[in-house]
Symmetry: C2
Subunit: 283 residues, 2 copies
């Protein structure tokens, strides 16, 4: 029976550390500030944004949520970003996905100053991650939070066989880079992969980020493997379920994240942590 | 017996196409220009730089080689790069490796304007590659040249199991990104990997870039696989040899690059091709 990786508990600990860092920074005259821009009225986005705001306030981060109407133009968002880029009191800027179709998301990503890019999506930061730069730079929060979990649960990374299911820019690709930088052997499998379970069955560390509920079953798991489930799918009854079939995988795996209470809380804790890091690096 | 992937012949073809593009651009008033900066007097570097110059001239690219003494300071190189960044007649800038130890290579890489970064090493370009951006951007020439070879020899990429041996910023990592963008399943193995041949033996496409002569033998190859050898090692007799043990691998593989005459000529052809692309994109 796999040990549970308690993301909720670990996130709490990280948040306490972040709160302590905020206190230290404030004593030095720096008040970390996060700006979240939300466009339109997507219901799920509104919940995410409210959760971020609440968490920031709890931690002592100044949080500003900028709500824009659905018909906002690209130029208007770019101009707003430019304003926050120039505002020295702002340390982290993020634009909540999804954006209305008239907006070029890649252009928005490029517009945020790399030093304030709290999501780590700006190509300059992505490039530093993939080049394993020794500079300070922000990294996509979900995979960064997963690295924090793996370290906290003392999962051996160097030489481990890590398999990532999914190749998104937000999770799969940066996860691959982080694990490669940590000297794991890294394989990225995805929708074009033939016989996916041939790969997953050899994985010491398996990270699943596909958005397909219960895709990975127990027979696709190496006994003792560490299984990280990034999925957040709602079934017909409104019940939250991961990309990993928890019931069949838990008896086989060595460590496993639950859904909810695994990756989710770590992502938001990492966002807060990274806001404070950006503030620190801005000194 | 594997089919030979004739990099020399293909490079010749690419060079002819590039030459034709130069003629077209010149008729539009754009004369593609490449600047190569070389610091100190490393003998191998001097040969590479001379080869690049000769090839550029053959193709009709204006080629300037800037030679700087071994004791050049970082500030001097940065100031020179800045001058070329601002010079509208220059389309591609590269700094030959290795650099003297007083120079921070990463800082040099960041200083070259992304739009003139003919080596594709600037983090912004690296980030676009890893995010599979739909914009135009330069890519590290060796892996880009390998993609050209794979396409010319009609190697199926989508769904293929691609294994890359080596995780350098110049070859292994960008190669992984290019193959992932082309929908291959991608594994990166390296010095920390346990039982490397367990991975290579499953590879439909195997790219080897380790700098270890004859590392990969025939028993580590899947029958019919496409094997790309990036190695350029000189043995005790001054004989050039790859990272792949050609004699034992050729009977097993489906397609294989020789050393010399495989990846090498494609890298320089790609550098020329990319200089002209940068000139075109600058319009």
């Amino acid at each position: 029976m796999a040990e549970l990786i308690d993301g909720k508990q670990l996130a709490k600990k990280i948040n306490e550390q972040t709160k302590a860092s905020v206190t230290v920074l404030k004593a030095r005259g720096i008040a970390p500030k996060l700006v979240v821009i939300i466009v339109g009225d997507d219901e799920a986005s509104e919940i995410y944004v409210r959760n971020k705001h609440r968490k920031a306030v709890q931690i002592g981060i100044i949080s500003e949520t900028k709500r824009l109407p659905e018909n906002t133009t690209q130029a208007e968002i770019l101009s707003l970003i430019d304003q926050y880029n120039q505002d020295e009191t702002v340390h982290g800027i993020m634009v909540q996905s999804p954006l209305p179709e008239q907006i070029d998301e890649a252009a928005i990503t490029r517009a945020i100053l790399p030093a304030k890019d709290v999501d780590g999506f700006n190509p300059e930061n992505v490039g530093k991650l993939y080049s394993d730069s020794d500079q300070n730079y922000p990294v996509s929060c979900t995979p960064k939070g997963i690295m924090t979990m793996l370290k906290a649960y003392q999962v051996k990374l160097a030489g481990a066989n890590a398999v990532i299911v999914g190749r998104s820019n937000i999770v799969g690709r940066p996860m691959a880079a982080l694990l490669l930088n940590a000297s794991a052997t890294v394989t990225v499998v995805h929708s074009h992969t033939k016989d996916m379970s041939a790969y997953t069955r050899d994985a010491d560390i398996l990270v699943v980020a596909t958005g397909i509920a219960n895709l990975i079953k127990g027979d696709a798991i190496k006994p003792g493997a560490t299984v990280i489930d990034v999925g957040m799918n709602r079934d017909a009854n409104g019940h939250l379920t991961g990309d990993v079939d928890f019931d069949s995988v838990q008896p086989v795996a060595g460590k496993i994240t639950p859904v909810p209470g695994g990756v989710g809380p770590m992502t938001i804790a990492t966002l807060m942590q990274q806001t404070v890091e950006l503030a620190k690096w801005s000194e």
